[in-house]
Symmetry: C2
Subunit: 716 residues, 2 copies
C-alpha cells in the first residue's frame, strides 16, 4: 500500500508540475501596452496587500488554534492543522498571484482572438484548479504516509484519525475566513462602485474615473479566485478525510483497513490525471461556443475518470468482495466502483441543472429578463422565485445519489461517491477560476481604452464565467449534501467507538454511560435540527449586512473623492484608487471575524448548554442533530442564493445585446428594463458571491468542530 | 366530563354571540357619502364574487375528498372532513362580509377621530377573530361530544381519532387554497396596480383613475381577511386535535383518558372568554398610541388567560398527579399548568420580537430605510439581510419552549403549551384582521376625495396593521414550530399503535413486521428531511412566480384600458374596475391549484416511492422524517418572508413623514430614497402576504395527510 500512496503523491506532484509549467507559459505571454501594465500593476498591488492582511489576521487565529490543538489533543493533531491551513493558504495565494498576472495577458490575447483569450484565461484557472486538488491530495497523502509509515501508527489509530480531522479543520478555518473576507471585499467594491458610478455619476462599469474601479477588480481576485480556492480545497480535504475515517471505523480490526483508507486517495490521484488531460481539450471549436469548449474538457475528464476509477479499484480493493464491515454487511468492490460512477453522474447532473437555471437562453433567466420590463420590483420578485425553485432538481439528484449509493455499498459507498465527485475538482475549479481573470481582463480593456471588440470578447467570456461560477458553487454544496451522511456518520461512529471503549474499561472515561438517542422522537434532536438549521440563515443575514455596510462606506468614499477632486470626472485628475482598496481591506477583515466564529462556536455552545440542562447523552444527541440541521437548511440556502444570483447577473447581461420581450419589443442597454435588471444583479451579488458560497464552509466547519469536540473530550 | 364539554361548547357559542352583537353594532354605524358607498359597494361585489368562485372550486375538490374519506375510512371521517371544511369556510366568509362593510364605516368614523376609526376597525377584526376561535372550538367539541356521547364510541377509539384528524384535514384543505388563492389575488393586484399606477402613470396609490384600485382593495379582504381566517382556523383546529390525539395515545387504556382529551378543549374555552374580555380594553389612550391600545387588550387577555388555565385545570385534570403515561412517566397537573403559561409566554415573546423586526423606529426597519438612500439594490439587500436575521430570536424562543415543556411534562406538555398559545387566537386574529379594514378605509377615503387628515388617520392605523399582520404570521408559524413535535409524535405513536396491534393479531395486517427507524443514522431519514425541507422552498418559488404572473397580467390590462379609454386619466371616463377583478379572480383560482397539491401529494408520493425502492419500514421512516424536514426549513422560510416583508413595508412608510438618514438629510415622499423603498415594498408583498404565510398550512397539511395515510393503510 505504501507504493500506492507514493504513486498517489506523485499524481499530486504532477498537478503541481502542471501548475508550474502553465504559469511559465502564461508569464511568457505578451503583456500589452504600458497603460495596461500600469492598471494591472495597481490591481496586483491591491490584491497582494489584501491577501497579506487577511493571512496575517488568520495567522493570529491560527497560532491560537495550533496551540490549543497541541494542548488539547497532540502535536500530531496540531501539525495536521498547520498542514491543512498552510497548504490551503498556499493554493489560494499562488492561484491569485497567477490570476493577477494572467488578466492583462488575457486582455492582450483577446485583442487577437476570442480563442486566444480563452486559452490564457482558462490556463490561469487550471493552475488554481490543479493547485487546489494537487496540494490537498499531497497534504493528506503524505501526512498519512508519515503517520502510518514512518511514525508507525496503525492506519486506524486514534492519533491518525485525529490528525487527519485536524488537517481538515485547518483547511476549513482558512476557507471560512477567505470566503467571507474575500466575499465582503469583492461585493462591497462591486455594489458600492456600481451604485455611485453607474447610477449616480452615470459612467460605465470599469471606467477609470471611478475611484472604486481598481478595488472592484482586486475583489474579483481575492474573492472569486483566492476565496473560492480555499473553499474547494477544504471541501476536497474534508471529504477525503471523512471517507478515510469512515473506512477506518467500518473496517476497524479487519485486515483490509489499509486498502479501504487508501482507496479514496487512489481515486483522487487517478482523477487528477484525468483532469490534467481534460484541460488540453478546452479549445474553441469552429462554432465559437465558449461553453462548448469548456464542456469538451469537462466531459473528457468525466469519461476518462470512469477508467481512472477502475484503475484505482484494481490496485486497491479490487472488484470482488472487500470484506465484512462492522455492520455485518459485505461490501463489494464492483459496487463501490459503481458508487464512484454515481458520484461523477451527480457532478454532471448538477452542472447541467445549474446551467439551466443560470444560463442565458433558458426559461429561468428569460423569465427574470421579462419581469424586468415591468420594473425593479418584479425583477427582484422573479429572481427570488427562480432562486427558490432552483433548489428542487439538485435536491432530487442528491437524494437519488444517497439512496442508490447506500443501497449499493452502505455509507462507505456514499463516501466513495462524494470522493469521486470531488476527484474532478481540479477541472471544476479550472472552469470557475477562469471567470475572475476574464472579468479583470474586461476591466483592463475598458480602463486602458482598448477597442470595443476586445471588450466584446472579454464580455462573452465573462457571461460564461457567471454560469461556471454558479456551477462550482452548486457542485461544492451538492457534495456537502451528498456528504452529509458521511460527516454525520463519522461523528456517530466516533462517538460509538468512545462509548464502547469506555464501557470496556479501555479509557475514555468521559464517555462512560453515554447513550445518544438520534431518533426524531427525541426532543433534543428536534432542538438540534432547529438550531443547526438556524446557522445558515443567521450567517447569511450577517454576511449580507456586512456587504451592505462595506458598500455604503465605498459610496461615501467615492462621493468624497468626486467632491474634493473635481478634476476626476473631467479626466484631468487621477482618483486615489489605493484609498478605496485600503478601506475595503479594513472593512472586510473586521467584518469577517464574528460570522466566522458562529459555526465554529455553535456546536460547542450547544453541547455545554444541553449538558447543563439535561445530560451528556442528550448533549451529544443535540450536537449530532445540529450537524444534519445545518446541512438540511444550508443546502437550500446555498443553492438558492448561488443559482438565483447567477440568474440575476445573466438576466442583466441579456440586455447588453438587446432583450426582446414577449410583446416583441427590444430593450437595449440603458433602457428602463435594463436599469431594473441592474437592481436584480446588485441584489444577487452578495447573494451569490458572499453569503451563499460561505454557507458551504460553514456547514463543514460545524461538522469538523463536532468531531474535534469528541476527540478533545476523549482526551480528558 | 360531558358537562364540561357542554360548558366549552357554550364558550364557543359565546364567541359567536359576540360576533353577532359586534356585527350589529358595526352595521348600525354611519356609512358616509353616496360616493363612498358606491366605492365600498364595488369592493364588496368584487370580494363576494371572488369568494364565491374560490369556494366553488374548493367545493369541487372537497366533494371528491369527502367521497374518498367515506370510501377509504368511514362516514364519520367524511363527516369530520365536511365539518372542518364548512366551518373554516364559514369563518372566512362571515368575517370577510363584515370586513367589506366595516371599511366604509371606519373611513367615516376616522373622519371624526382616530379613536373612533380604531374602534370600528378593531371591532370588525374581533368578529373574524371570535368566529375563527369560536367555530373551531364548537366544531371540535360538538363533534367529539356526538361521537363519544351520542354514538357511544370510547374517547380513544380509532373512529374518534380518525374523525378528528379528518376534521383537521378539512380545515387544512380550505386553508391552503384560501391562503394561496387569496394571496395571489391580493398581491397580484397590489404589485400590478402599483407598477402601472405609481411608477408608470405617476398617480398615487388608491387613485380612482387606476383601473386596478378596486381589485387592490378587494384583495385586502379576500387575502388578508378571509385567507388569514382560514389559516388560523386550521392552525387552531389541527393543534387542538393533535393534542387530544396525543393525550388519547399516551393514556390509552387509563381511566384519565377522557380528562386529558377534554383538558385542551377546556383551555380553549377559558381563553375564548378572556379574549372576549380583552377586546373591551382596546381603546385609544391619552397618548394616542394605536399599538399601545392594541397591546392593552392583548396583555389583559394574556394575564387573564393564566387564571383561565387554572380554572381549566381545576375542572379537568386538577393540579396533582394526573396518572401514568404509556411511557411510564407520571404527569403532573401543576406542571401542565406551567406548560400552558410557557405557551402564553412564547406568544408574548414572539409578538415582541416581531414588533422589533417590523416596527418603525427599531434598528431593522431603520437599517432598511437607511439603505434605501444608496439605491434600490441596497434596499433589497438590507431587507433580505433583515429577513434572514429575523429568524434567530423566534427559533431560540421556540427551542426554549420545547425544552422547558418537555422537561415539565413530556410531549403532552408541549402539546398543552401549543394549545394555550392557540387559545388566545381570537385576540391575535382580531389584531390582524383589523389591518385590511383600515387599509380599505384609507383606499375609500382616497378615492372618495375625503380630507387629507382622514387619510392620515387611516394611514396611521394601517402602519400598525403591517406590524400586527407580521405578528400573527410569526405566531402561527411559531406554534407550528413548537407543535412540530406534537404532530410528529402523533404520527409516530399512531404508527407504533398499528404495528403493536398487528403483531398481537388484532387486525391492521398491513403493519405486521413494520419497524420504522427514525434515527438520523438511517439514510432514508436524511432523504425524508431533505425532501420535506424542499417543500417550503419549491412551494414558495411557485407562489412567487404566480404573483409575478398575475401582476403582469394586471399591468397589461391597465395599460390596455389607459390606451383604449384616454378619458380615464383626465377623469372624464370611468375605468372598468370589474374587468381587473375578474381577471385576477381567474388567475388566482387557476394558479392556486398546483402548488396546493404539492404538500398534499408529497407524503403519499414519498411513501410509495420509498416503498418500491426499499420496504414499508423505510417508507414510514422517510415520511416521518419528511414531516420534520418540512417544519425545519418551513419555520425559517416563513419567518424570514413574513418579517422581512413587514420590515420592507414599514421602511417605505417611514418616508411618508420624511426619513432622516445618518448624515442628517431628510428624505421625503417622492425622493429617490423613497422610490428605492417602494421597490423593497413591492418585493416584500408576495414574500409576506402570499408565499410566507402559505408555508404554515403547507406544513400542517403535510402532517395531516401523513396521519390520514396511516389511517387509510390501517383500513386495508
Amino acid at each position: 500500500m505504501q507504493t500506492i500512496l507514493l504513486v498517489v503523491a506523485l499524481c499530486g506532484l504532477l498537478a503541481v508540475a502542471y501548475a508550474i509549467w502553465a504559469t511559465r507559459s502564461i508569464l511568457a505571454a505578451d503583456q500589452g501596452s504600458a497603460r495596461m501594465q500600469e492598471i494591472a500593476g495597481a490591481i496586483r498591488e491591491g490584491a497582494q496587500a489584501y491577501l497579506a492582511r487577511q493571512y496575517t489576521t488568520i495567522a493570529m487565529v491560527g497560532v491560537v488554534v495550533f496551540a490549543l490543538s497541541w494542548f488539547l489533543l497532540s502535536l500530531y493533531a496540531a501539525a495536521g492543522f498547520a498542514i491543512g491551513a498552510i497548504l490551503s493558504g498556499l493554493a489560494g495565494f499562488i492561484g491569485m498571484n497567477v490570476s493577477v498576472r494572467a488578466n492583462i495577458r488575457t486582455a492582450e490575447a483577446a485583442s487577437r482572438s476570442l480563442g486566444a483569450g480563452l486559452g490564457v484565461a482558462f490556463k490561469s484557472g487550471a493552475i488554481t484548479g490543479m493547485l487546489v486538488a494537487g496540494l490537498a491530495l499531497l497534504g493528506v497523502t503524505l501526512y498519512f504516509l508519515v503517520l502510518t509509515g514512518w511514525l508507525g501508527f496503525g492506519p486506524g489509530d486514534r492519533t491518525v484519525i485525529d490528525s487527519l480531522v485536524s488537517l481538515g479543520f485547518g483547511a476549513s478555518l482558512i476557507s471560512i475566513f477567505a470566503r467571507l473576507g474575500g466575499g465582503i471585499f469583492t461585493k462591497g467594491a462591486d455594489v458600492g462602485g456600481d451604485l455611485v458610478g453607474k447610477v449616480e455619476a452615470g459612467i460605465p462599469e470599469d471606467d477609470p474615473r471611478n475611484p472604486a474601479t481598481i478595488a472592484d477588480n482586486v475583489g474579483d481576485n481575492v474573492g472569486d479566485c483566492a476565496g473560492m480556492a480555499a473553499d474547494l480545497f477544504e471541501t476536497y480535504a474534508v471529504t477525503v478525510v471523512a471517507t478515510m475515517v469512515l473506512g477506518a471505523i467500518f473496517f476497524a480490526g479487519s485486515n483490509v483497513i489499509e486498502s479501504v483508507m487508501v482507496y479514496p486517495l487512489a481515486i483522487c490521484g487517478a482523477c487528477i490525471i484525468t483532469s490534467i488531460i481534460g484541460t488540453f481539450f478546452v479549445r474553441l471549436g469552429s462554432n465559437g461556443s465558449i461553453m462548448g469548449a469548456l464542456y469538451k474538457g469537462l466531459w473528457v475528464t468525466t469519461l476518462l475518470s470512469i477508467v481512472g476509477l477502475a484503475i484505482a479499484n484494481y490496485f486497491t480493493i479490487g472488484f470482488g468482495d472487500v470484506g465484512e464491515a462492522s455492520s455485518g454487511a459485505t461490501i463489494n468492490g464492483l459496487n463501490l466502483f459503481i458508487c464512484g460512477i454515481v458520484g461523477l453522474a451527480v457532478t454532471g447532473l448538477i452542472v447541467w441543472i445549474t446551467e439551466f437555471y443560470t444560463g442565458i437562453g433558458f426559461r429561468p433567466v428569460r423569465s427574470i429578463s421579462e419581469a424586468s420590463v415591468s420594473g425593479h420590483g418584479t425583477n427582484v420578485i422573479q429572481g427570488l422565485a427562480v432562486s427558490l425553485e432552483a433548489t428542487a432538481m439538485p435536491t432530487i439528484v442528491i437524494v437519488a445519489g444517497i439512496i442508490s449509493t447506500y443501497q449499493l455499498a452502505g455509507l462507505y459507498g456514499t463516501g466513495i461517491a462524494v470522493t469521486a465527485m470531488l476527484g474532478v475538482a481540479g477541472m471544476i475549479v479550472a472552469l470557475d477560476a477562469f471567470g475572475p481573470v476574464t472579468d479583470n481582463a474586461g476591466g483592463i480593456a475598458e480602463m486602458a481604452g482598448l477597442p470595443a471588440d476586445v471588450r466584446r470578447s472579454t464580455d462573452a467570456l465573462d457571461a460564461v464565467g457567471n454560469t461556471t461560477k454558479a456551477v462550482t458553487k452548486g457542485y461544492a454544496i451538492g457534495s456537502a449534501g451528498l456528504g452529509a451522511l458521511v460527516l454525520f456518520a463519522a461523528y456517530n461512529y466516533d462517538l460509538q467507538y468512545f462509548v464502547a471503549q469506555a464501557e470496556a474499561g479501555n479509557g475514555y472515561e468521559y464517555f462512560r454511560g453515554v447513550q445518544p438517542d438520534f431518533a426524531l422522537t427525541n426532543p433534543y434532536v428536534v432542538v438540534g435540527l432547529l438550531l443547526g438549521g438556524l446557522i445558515p440563515f443567521l450567517f447569511g443575514g450577517i454576511a449580507m449586512t456586512a456587504v451592505g455596510r462595506a458598500a455604503s462606506s465605498v459610496v461615501e468614499e467615492v462621493r468624497r473623492q468626486f467632491r474634493e477632486k473635481p478634476g476626476i470626472m473631467a479626466g484631468t485628475e487621477r482618483p486615489d484608487y489605493a484609498r478605496a482598496v485600503d478601506l475595503l481591506t479594513r472593512a472586510a477583515i473586521k467584518e469577517m471575524v464574528v460570522p466566522s466564529l458562529l459555526p465554529v462556536l455553535a456546536p460547542v455552545v450547544v453541547y455545554f448548554a444541553v449538558y447543563l440542562i439535561s445530560d451528556k447523552s442528550q448533549a451529544f444527541s443535540a450536537v449530532g442533530a445540529m450537524l444534519l440541521g445545518v446541512i438540511v437548511t444550508g443546502i437550500f440556502v446555498a443553492i438558492s442564493m448561488t443559482s438565483g444570483g447567477g440568474a440575476w447577473d445573466n438576466a442583466k447581461k441579456s440586455f447588453e445585446d438587446g432583450f426582446v420581450d414577449a410583446a416583441g419589443t427590444r430593450h437595449m442597454k440603458g433602457s428602463e428594463a435594463h436599469k431594473a435588471s441592474v437592481t436584480g444583479d446588485t441584489v444577487g451579488d452578495p447573494y451569490k458571491d458572499t453569503a451563499g458560497p460561505a454557507v458551504n464552509p460553514a456547514i463543514k466547519i460545524t461538522n469538523i468542530v463536532a468531531l474535534l469536540l469528541l476527540a478533545i473530550l476523549a482526551h480528558q
